[in-house]
Structure formats: C-alpha cells, structure tokens
Symmetry: C2
Subunit: 168 residues, 2 copies
C-alpha cells in the first residue's frame, strides 16, 4: 500500500484545555464530555494517554475554538468535586499542524520524517494525535510558520502541489 501525502494543514484558531489528574475510573470521561456538550462548545481533538503513575489518574486534553474557551472552562470548573480532577489548564497560545494523506499507518517513516523536520526547525511537540490519514501535532502558536515550512521541505511539497506519492 502506498503512503500518499496530500498536504500540510495548520490551524491558528484553537486553544487547548487539559483536565489534569482525572481519576482513571469508568464514567469520568463521559461526565466531562457531557458537560462540555451541554455547554455548547465544539471540541476538535481529544487526547488521553494511559494512566501510568501509581496515582491512578491521567490527564485528558482537548482543543477547541478560542472563542469557546471561557464557556468550556466555566463548565469544567463546576465538575471539580464530582469528577475529582486535580486542576484545569488553559492555553490559547497553541497551533495545530497536521500532515494529511493516506496509508500512513504502514509507513512509519512518514511520521519519523515529519517529526524530524519539526525537530530540525527547533519546534517542540506538545501533543500528538494520529490516524491513518492525518498526523497532528500541537505546538506553540509562534512556531506554526516554521513548522509548516519545515514540513513542506521534509516532504518536498511545494506549497502549490496537490499530491505527492511518498512511498510505495
């Protein structure tokens, strides 16, 4: 199967919220996202990694439009006792950069090349979320242009090209 890179997308309009120290038990994530849905906020990418510490807690982060930030934070703050998370973090100085394509699962070199390009440009990766058709990273908003340029270069993507076959 070929991996095809169709382009680099970026988004400067988002903020991220991290619910820190959510007890890793059934129903906690549901409660959080029910509250957010009720508040009417749009949620883009959600990331939760495994709970690894002996605390039995993990963090849940998500991105959303900056204009929804206040409403989301208010809704989540009301859940503190019920959910029992440790703290809320809000960051509206983020950017999202995504490599968009297809068949990327069977071509791990694509991810490596994307991340190496970012590293060469001195861009720190704050969050990662991937699928077979999109590899997304959250970075500092001040690094968006550098990250997009680095990624175009890493894949020889002229900004006017529509598609490039990378491997096959």
């Amino acid at each position: 199967e070929q991996a095809i890179i169709s382009g680099v997308a970026h988004d400067r309009s988002e903020a991220k919220i991290t619910v820190v120290g959510v007890p890793d038990k059934v129903g906690e994530a549901a409660r959080i996202f029910e509250s957010l849905a009720d508040s009417g906020t749009n949620i883009d990418m959600i990331v939760q990694n495994v709970s690894v510490s002996s605390s039995g807690r993990t963090d849940i982060s998500f991105t959303l439009p900056r204009e929804d930030g206040h409403v989301a934070m208010t809704a989540l703050s009301r859940l503190k006792d019920e959910v029992g998370y440790e703290q809320l973090l809000y960051d509206d100085r983020i950017g999202k950069v995504s490599l968009v394509g297809a068949g990327m699962r069977t071509h791990p070199g694509v991810t490596a090349r994307f991340f190496a390009g970012l590293a060469a440009a001195g861009v720190n990766i704050e969050m990662i979320s991937t699928s077979e058709i999109r590899i997304s990273v959250i970075i500092d908003e001040d690094r968006i242009d550098a990250a997009v340029t680095a990624t175009h270069q890493a894949f020889d993507l002229d900004t006017h090209e529509v598609e490039a076959v990378v491997y096959g």
Copy 2:
C-alpha cells in the same frame, strides 16, 4: 453541518507500547519514531499528551500489530540512554473501538454519547484519540464486545445499517 455516524469499528489485533517519562525537549519524538521506522514496525495510533508535571517529561504511547511488539520493544530499549526515558510499558491485552463518521467536531454530544454508552457498560477508557471522522478509544481486550454492543445501542445502530444521521 450534520454529524453522520457510519459505524463502529473494532480491532483486536493490536498491542500498545508506552514510552514513559520522555524528556519534553525538541527532537525526542523524532528519535523514537526514527528508531521504530528503522525497525520496520507499523505504527497505528500515536498519543502524546502535554507535559504537566514539573518533571518536564511526558509519555508517548502508540499501538501496533501484536506481531511487531517484540521488534519495537527491542528497538526502543536501545534508545534508553540516548532519549533518557524512564521506562517502557508493553500491553498486548488491548482492544481498539472507534466510532466512525463525519462532522463530529461540531457535535460534541456525539463524543459524550459514545463515552456514556461505554460507561454504562462498565468499560474503562484507557486512551483516547480523535479526529473529525473517527473517535477511537483503547480499552481492555476483554471488553471489546461489550463496548461495540454498547456503542451500537447508544446510536441506535443496527449492526446491519450502513449509515445513521445523528444530528443536523
């Protein structure tokens, strides 16, 4: 924009690896994925959440075919000094369940309903990774059938239906 749920996918063939305590500095993720690419392992979903503790470290998890687990763990173990992570965790008792659709970003109630269905079935969510067209969770492999059934019920998806319009 309508949110359309086209179905529930599940995968019993994967394992997950967590690189625990990766220093949150430029180039670390690149090194990890370069090593994995060189080892020939296929990588499916990658999740990294923000570094929130004062340790300046975060965890990077990914799923991969179980048959690639040994090769991946061997490759990563060689990086311990260079990357400076704290430990490697391997878990081949996982299942992936995904809600597949479109337009889910602007319908946060979809995520809430999915998670609430899992909670009602007593399924603990270990990892979350989402995009506009797919909401994926990693759970214990013994809970896959319960999770798939719960999700079909939550969205009134007969297992033979192709598509259901949920909101719009």
